[in-house]
Symmetry: none
Subunit: 402 residues, 2 copies
Amino acid sequence: MEPLLEFLQPLAQSGGKTVLLVMDGLGGLPHPETGLTELEAARTPHMDALAKDGSCGLSMPVAPGVTPGSGPGHLALFGYDPQRYVVGRGVLSALGVGLSLGPQDVAARANFATREGDIIVDRRAGRISTEECRRLAALLNERIRLDGVSVHVEPEMQHRAVVIFSGPGLSPHLSDSDPQKTGVPAPEVRPTAPEAEKTAAVVNEFIRQAYRVLEHEHPANAILLRGFDRQPALPQLPQLFGIRAVAIAYYPMYRGLARLVGMETVVPGPEPKDAIAKALELWEEHDLLFIHVKGTDSAGEDGDWARKSRVIEAVDAALPPLIERKPDVLLITGDHSTPAALKMHSWHPVPVLLWARTARKDRWIQKFGESECARGSLGQVRAVELLPLMLAHAGRLVKFGA
Amino acid sequence: MEPLLEFLQPLAQSGGKTVLLVMDGLGGLPHPETGLTELEAARTPHMDALAKDGSCGLSMPVAPGVTPGSGPGHLALFGYDPQRYVVGRGVLSALGVGLSLGPQDVAARANFATREGDIIVDRRAGRISTEECRRLAALLNERIRLDGVSVHVEPEMQHRAVVIFSGPGLSPHLSDSDPQKTGVPAPEVRPTAPEAEKTAAVVNEFIRQAYRVLEHEHPANAILLRGFDRQPALPQLPQLFGIRAVAIAYYPMYRGLARLVGMETVVPGPEPKDAIAKALELWEEHDLLFIHVKGTDSAGEDGDWARKSRVIEAVDAALPPLIERKPDVLLITGDHSTPAALKMHSWHPVPVLLWARTARKDRWIQKFGESECARGSLGQVRAVELLPLMLAHAGRLVKFGA
């Protein structure tokens, strides 16, 4: 948690209702022809009206120049310092396939791979089909037996899988078996802390058995493990601030991240309007409703300017019923930038708009977008500072000091 | 180093080419008649074009209200927290005369002074000529012999000199012999840490012998020492980020500061265009080219508005070949402000312009200058955050977290 939240926790009181609407990868870069970003090019009359009736700014997810993954990007929006709470690759992959980890579980991200003798010749086994991945995972689950430790291989897409080891006294302090390059053997997993010796032996035994099970398969005759971690024990938002929080997200990873901080989770339909409709259903029983929209990020990753703008327009078109329901606070932003110009996540700060009856009004803002937000009254904020602002505008923080 | 750089180091990868162009003391204050600062009054068509095609802001060198010396100002631009890495006066003076210090060296800044009996009556010996300073330094170097420690007196300008003690087990933890006022005797040098007792004795023996050598000189019949320090062991930029960095600076102190962080150094001609021409010569073999322009600071210190503007115009006029060479990142700023109105360094934030293909475009900026930069999309940045931004825009930082 951000030290700021620890400071604020004793000030918590009950209060109003907050909607946190996250368009994944919202921030963009100007199109070389129009000079407008994806958000600036989108027709967004409702967001524009909220922007000039609220406070705007630019949010820095982690630190200057740092490009965040989905984990750090969301933890920051939930108020948790992503440099302090690092969620390992294995845990994020488990969250991504919808698995919840228990306190005895250690998870790793796995690749099916191709080896010739001991030498890894393809770290992705020619990107085998998802179906083949499922068959191999089932095979490993059926055949591998470890002493005192249960293991489960969960298939993802193509060559990707998650491996979860479960048993008393397991430690996540392990080096990777994935060499990250070809032409070399996969190294043994080594303990990076003394208490992980037993776990390293268990994992290496798993890999030995897996190699035997996969021996006559082709091209996926090896498995590489990396990013061992266990689910981090994060302070929980409901206990900290007495808020009943719910995540409304179509993709499992974002529900998993929300569960890490104590949110309930709900699966809406795939469209922005479905998520907003679900939020309205859940309205009475919750104080903080986190709505996640994935399409902006996917379009950005694909370099598809027009599609990213259209997803933003679909969100804007879905807003009226939400606005009519009169939340006390409505914060609209992204977890990071994914400019279509770069086809990847980036370090650029993200437009943010905070609407509340108690907000200052940036009347000079014409359009919700990167350039206009640069002259908003919120200025440059760190993403971890947004939850405290939402709590304050929801009337949930008492005065500090006499 | 800034904790931020430690956090970024594991994210480093190879990438593009960056130019860091520093106009020393760039920031200014408005002229009472025109209302324009030195930079705002200067004709700078190339910088203005870069500003509106890039991102602008104001950079705070150290902390609010803090007026930085050259050392802290530059360390911050190199990414090192100047509150954490303090370069002593002695070391800075040694760097200023082009000396490199070894691990056994302790340096002090020295003044030739005038005494009557034991009482210091002029801390600058009537600002003797540089030639006289050279003669006296040579005299001291010829006559003084210390047991097991070698000593070297290097003349600077007028009454100023640097004294370097070299030998095993020397410590920099010493009080000054310079009383900082007249009418009192010069105090003995005292150890400020137990391990410095031997060094204090050596330095006091040096001062006794110097007083004897200078006994019949006039007015420089004494020497005062202050700012004992040894060269700090800073993490090196090439090792941290795999960048081949070079400093192109006419004045030795800036080359010395750059060497502290692992840059190579090159001496260009005295004019801005000479420094830029040298950068183009060195282009292929370097990833980070730091160009230092001194004239802005000197003019500011002299209170010469027009000359400071002219130096800025000369830099602008020299830019086209640099721009045509298409650096991936071009960052133009100063290490601190030196307003002609104040005739000294000041605490005011410094205009900064970051041009890169991946930068947001501040189309609303009309002119590179203090007032316009105050509404740039970079907002108010800390100077130590600029190196991370340069690395990011050069594509040199991988994603943090999955």
